[in-house]
Amino acid sequence: MPLDLFTVGDPIADTKAPVDVPIGERWSTRRFRARLVNPANRRKLTVIVVGTGLAGGSAAATLGEAGYKVKNFWFHDSPRRAHSVAAQGGINAAKNYRNDGDSVHRLFYDTVKGGDFRSRENNVHRLAEVSVNIIDQCVAQGVPFAREYGGLLDNRSFGGAQVSRTFYARGQTGQQLLYGAYQALERQMAAGTVEQFARHEMLDLIIVDGRARGIVARNLITGEVSTHFADAVVLATGGYSNVFYLSTNAKGSNATAIWRAHKRGAYFANPCYTQIHPTCIPVKGDYQSKLTLMSESLRNDGRVWVPKERGDERDPRDIPEDERDYYLERIYPAFGNLVPRDIASRQAKNVCDEGRGVGPGGLGVYLDFGDAMKRLGRPAIEAKYGNLFDMYAQITGEDPYETPMRIYPAVHYTMGGLWVDYDLQSTIPGMFVIGEANFSDHGANRLGASALMQGLADGYFVLPNTINDYLADGPFEKVDDGHPAVAEALQDVQGRVQKLLSINGNRTPASFHRELGRLMWDLCGMERSDEGLRKALDRIPEIRQEFWTNLKVSGDQDTINPTLEHAGRVADFIDLAELMCIDALHRNESCGGHFRAESQTPEGEALRDDENFAYVAAWEWTPEGAPPVLHREDLEYEYVHLAQRSYK
C-alpha cells in the first residue's frame, strides 16, 4: 500500500469489555465494575446529547430520568422528525416467543455471521442480550406493535432469518419506536430534566484538557453561533449515506457532527462499510433529490429480470419469456431472487453496466409480479403488497399490477462510524457515540431489523449504564468562552461560515453534492477496484478545490438559510468521501456489503480475506495535508467460528 495515502500507527484495542469472564457474563460484569454516580450528584452533571433519533432520543430521555442535567440538540423543528422515523421493516429481539429455537446466543451468532466477521463479538452479544428489554420497554410506552387475535405480539421472519424474531408495526416500525422514545423525551422536557435546543446544528466539538467538554452549535433560525458546555458529550447523529447524494436517507441527514469530532481526534472506523439496498425505486432524472426504499419482502414473489439483449427498448410486456434473463435465478439457482441484499444489488449493477438496464438512463431492472399474479391472483397480491404497489404508483405514475416494477439499488445505511469501545466511548475521553453514528455492532454488513435494535439498545440500556463510569470523575472544572480551546473552536466555526458565504462563485452546494455523490456511487459503491478508487482519490481533491473557490451561497448568515447549512455539510462530505475511498482502497478484500474486484472467487463471488483483514480500521485525522493514520483493532472470534458465506 502506498505510503502517500495513509500511514500506519499503533494498534488500538477495546479495554473495557471484561474478557476475563465468559461472553454471557461480560455485560453484567461490566455494569458491576463500572463506577456509579450517586443520585444526588447526578444533577450536578451535565450531558450534551446531539440527535433525537432512536439512539439520541432514548438516551436523552433515559439520562434525564436518571437525574442528569441533559441538553439535547437537534437540527429539525421537532425531535420527532429524526430519520429513524422512516425505518419500515421491524426490530429483532431474542424473545423466542415462537418457540422456534431462537435465543440470545442465536441472535448473537446470526449478527456476527451476518456482519461477515467484521464486528466485535462482545458488543454484538450485549446487543442480543438487551434486545429483549427493548421490546418490554417499548410495549410499556404504548408502542402499537402488530398483535395476534389472542392479544400476543406478532413476530415475523425477516431478511432471510430462519427464526421469527422480528417485531413490527405494519410498515412503520421505525416511526412507532421513535414516537415511543420521543414521548419519553418530551415527558422529560416537561419535567425539566432535558433542556431543548431545537433547530441547532452542532458544528464543532470542544475539547478542554483532553476531555470532550462541549459543542459549538449554530442556531439555524437566528444564525447565532454559540458554545454549550457539559461533563460529557453524546453524539447520536446517524449515518452518512448522503455522501452519495442520492440515498434513502433524509435530505438533512449529514456527517458534520461526527466529522468535526473526527477532526478533533475521534477515530473513524471502517468508513467504507456502507449498505446498499436492492429494492429501491430507480432514478428518474437529474432533478432527483432522493431515493425511496421499498420493502425487500417484494422479492418473495417478484421475479427479477432484464432483457437478454442490450438496448432492448420494447415494452416489458412485449418481451417474450425466452428473451428475458432472470439473472438471479440463473446465477443462484438455490436462493434465486432471495439472495442477500449485497448480492442482489451487485448483480443489478452488473447487468446495467452490461448495458441491459431498463428505464430512464438504463439504471433499473424489472421486478415482475406477472407469474405471482397468475399463481395467486390479484387479490392475494393486493393483500400482501398493496401499500407498496400504491407507493410505487404514486411516485412513478405507473401501475405495477399492469407492468413490471423497475427497481435499482440505493445506499441506505452506513455500518462504519466513529470508533467506540465497549462503553461506547470514542477515542476522545468524555465523548460517546451511539446508534448508526458509531461503528460498533454490524461489522461489514447489517442484518435486516437490526438497526432499530442497536439504536434503542445503545440509548436505553447501554450508554446509561456505562457513561456513569466516566462521569464518576466529574463534575469537571468549569469552562467558559474565555478558555483558549473554546475561543479557538468558536472562531473556527464562525470563520468557516463566513468563508462559505464569501466565495461567491458559480455553483450551488447541491451541484457539488450531486457530483460528489455520483463519483462515490460509481467508484466507491457496490463494487470497488484499485483503479477506480485511485481515480476517485484523484478527483476528490479537485472537487474540494473547486468547492472552496467556486461555491455560491446566497442569503445571509443571521437568518434561516438552508443553502448555507447544505454548503457546510457538503464540505464535510467531500472530506469524508476521501477517507472512505482510502479505507476502501486499503481493504483489498470483498466482505459484507462490498465487492472488491481484485478479491473474488473463480466464479466471481466475493472472497473475504481473514488472513489480512480481520480487523477494524480506525482512522486518525491528521492536520490538513498529511495522510490519515490507520490504527488496527484486531478482531478475534472466540465463540463464532470464521466461515465463508455461500449462496450458490
Partner: protein, 279 residues
Amino acid sequence: MTATREGASFASGTATDPAMAPHGMTLTLRIWRQKGPADKGRMVTYQVEDISPDMSFLEMLDVLNEKLILADDDPVVFDHDCREGICGSCGLMINGTAHGRGTSGGPTTTCQLHMRKFKDGDTIDIEPWRATAFPVIKDLSVDRGALDRIIQSGGYISAPTGTAPEAHSILVPKKDSDAAFDAATCIGCGACVAACPNASSMLFTAAKVSHLGLFPQGQPERNERVVNMIAQQDLEGFGGCTNIGECSAACPKGISMENISRLNHDLLGALRAGARPKS
C-alpha cells in the same frame, strides 16, 4: 468494472440522455415570501420551466431555488426532510388546500405530491400553514413547537427505562391495538390545523389521546392526559373544534374523525371524575 454510463450523468446538472431530457412544463408560481416574523409578507410570482411530470412538488421548488441562488436571490425557505411522506417536516398550502390535497386525488404529504398532477401553464399558489400557534419563521417555514408542547403536557405513558414488565404480561386485543396504531400514525405535520377553518389542533391531540387511551398501559394517566392536553392546546392559541372534517380530509395518514369523538368521550369522563388541568 465501474462502467460509468456515458450520458446518464445526473451529477453535472446537464441532462444529455434523451430519456432524461426536459419534459417542459412551464408553471407560474405565486409564493408567499416573508423575511421573518416581523415582516408583513406578500405573494411573489415566479416562473419555472422544464418541469418534469415525474418530479415531486419539492423537487420542483428545488429547481426554482437553484435558479434563485445562482441569481444571488434569497431561495424560498420551506421545511422538508425525509421526502418519503413519514417525517412530517414538509407542509405547504397548495392552491388553497393543505399538502395540495385538492389536487392530489388522495391523502398525501407535500413531498409525495408529484407534478404530473399539474398541467403545463398552471398557476400554483403556495402558502405556509397559517395559524397563530404556528408563527411563520420565514417564507413557507413555520414553527410547530406548539404540537410538541401538547405532547409534553401529557402525550406519553410514564414508563421510565428499565421499569417495564415482560412484554407478554399484558395482553392487548388486536382490535384495540390496530385502532391505536391507526391513531399513532399521525406524523405531526400540522395539516389538520392548516386545513381547519377554526385552526384547531383537535385531530392531532385526539390522535394521541386515542392511541394511548386504547392501551391498558395508558389507563392510569388517561384522565389527566386528556384534560392537560386540551388545556395546553387552548393555551397555545389553537381554535376550537366544530367537527367540520377538513382536518381528517387533509390528513396524509387518514386519521379519522372518530378519534375526536373518542377524545370528547374521554374528556367528559375525566371531568366527571374530577380531573382538572395541572396549571
